[in-house]
Symmetry: C2
Subunit: 208 residues, 2 copies
DNA sequence: TATTCTACCAACCAGCCGGTATGCAGGCAA
DNA sequence: TTGCCTGCATACCGGCTGGTTGGTAGAATA
């Protein structure tokens, strides 16, 4: 009788509950921004109540911080950092990652943009706690791109006089800019066009 | 007696009142986003009341639209489009505009980023009215960059095989990306670093 | 089996926020 | 002067939103 009523609810699994809250909060933030996220919407999505949320997180801000640390940062690493790890063709791997994002699994990339950059743009001037966490994520990302460029340099794929630190920073900026422009246009084609420019830049670094 | 009380208030000047509301609303949106803008704050800044605001604008959305049309778009044109108009050295003018934005008059550029892009990132997926207006502003901007590039091409400053349309799109994306990254870091130095990458890209277009 | 603690629910609350209703002073036409 | 319309001010409201409080069922502990 009880099992027939609601199989999903009754079981006591705090870690999973916390994770469900985090993921629902992430989606709400992704779509509406942190200020636009409504806790009631998160609870409706998880079919939980205020009590559950405030048992796992002291307030909305802490929930936001946790979303950065435990959802956005790991996702970013899996999507952008991991593919560059120890690639034999670092420059090619970089280009490939850029091209892949056009037809990336989540089709929301064009509609809603980059979760990391969205939150950074919204919250960096308003909340130092957010800013530090998001800037840290950018730093991780930057270092992986820089490492790939330096490896490409060692392999003679790009010129020796390139400042890999500086270029990595610009590549990050350009990628976020491309995604942002595509989002503003709500157009996947715009992202393709934009990315071609970025790839053209990377090609211009090649040694010949 | 009446003149001594409050010289600024009493005079009946609807156009100026409307303009004051627009500028205060712009600053609020610039700092907190459209969703984060509170009408009460706008009214506090202008020392007006609800009656005045709702006399000039039917609702919050319409106020936001008016800010785009009457503040953000003209400002963008003055800052980015105008300097490229009929420049004898279009490529040099482009580089100069980019370099100037590092030490631009409003020091809030690093703190709060680009008003146009901020709003585009926040509202494009949520409100088609905003999206169209902001996309239109981007189109104006794009066309002016494209025209400058094509002029540079005619003058033999950049290679003939460059796709100026595509490059202009990428340049826009890169500029917004640079500003965004600097905002995320809250660092003027980051903007300088980032801009050097963009200028390096523009140099790579040169014919030799 | 009695006790305790964890995980969560249900109900409520205060403050804010967009929006409205109403009133009224001053310019302007007649 | 009279009346009218524009340009605001004042006061108010309903609903939403983050946050709180008291309780309780079930697992863990003893």
């Amino acid at each position: 009788m009880e099992q027939a009523e609601n199989t999903a609810r009754a079981q006591r699994n705090p870690d999973q509950t916390r994770q469900r809250i985090l993921e629902a909060a992430f989606m709400e933030i992704y779509r509406n921004g942190f200020q636009g996220m409504r806790l009631d919407e998160v609870l409706a999505a998880t079919r939980l109540t205020k009590g559950a949320l405030y048992h796992h997180f002291p307030n909305k801000q802490a929930l936001g911080y946790a979303v950065v640390d435990e959802v956005i940062l790991p996702t970013m690493q899996a999507m952008w950092v991991q593919p560059l790890r120890g690639a034999e063709e670092p420059l090619g791997a970089l280009v490939e990652v850029i091209e892949q994002m056009v037809d990336s699994k989540p089709p929301e990339m064009i509609q809603y943009g980059c979760p990391l950059n969205n939150l950074a743009q919204e919250m960096s001037p308003l909340d130092e706690g957010f800013r530090q966490r998001l800037d840290y994520a950018f730093a991780i990302w930057h270092d992986s791109v820089q490492a790939a460029l330096e490896q490409a340099q060692r392999l003679g794929q790009i010129r020796k006089d390139c400042n890999c630190d500086e270029i990595a920073t610009f590549v990050l900026a350009a990628m976020e800019g491309c995604i942002g422009l595509a989002k503003a246009a709500q157009s996947r084609e715009r992202l393709r066009t934009c990315n071609r420019g970025l790839i053209q830049f990377l090609q211009s670094l090649k040694a010949h």
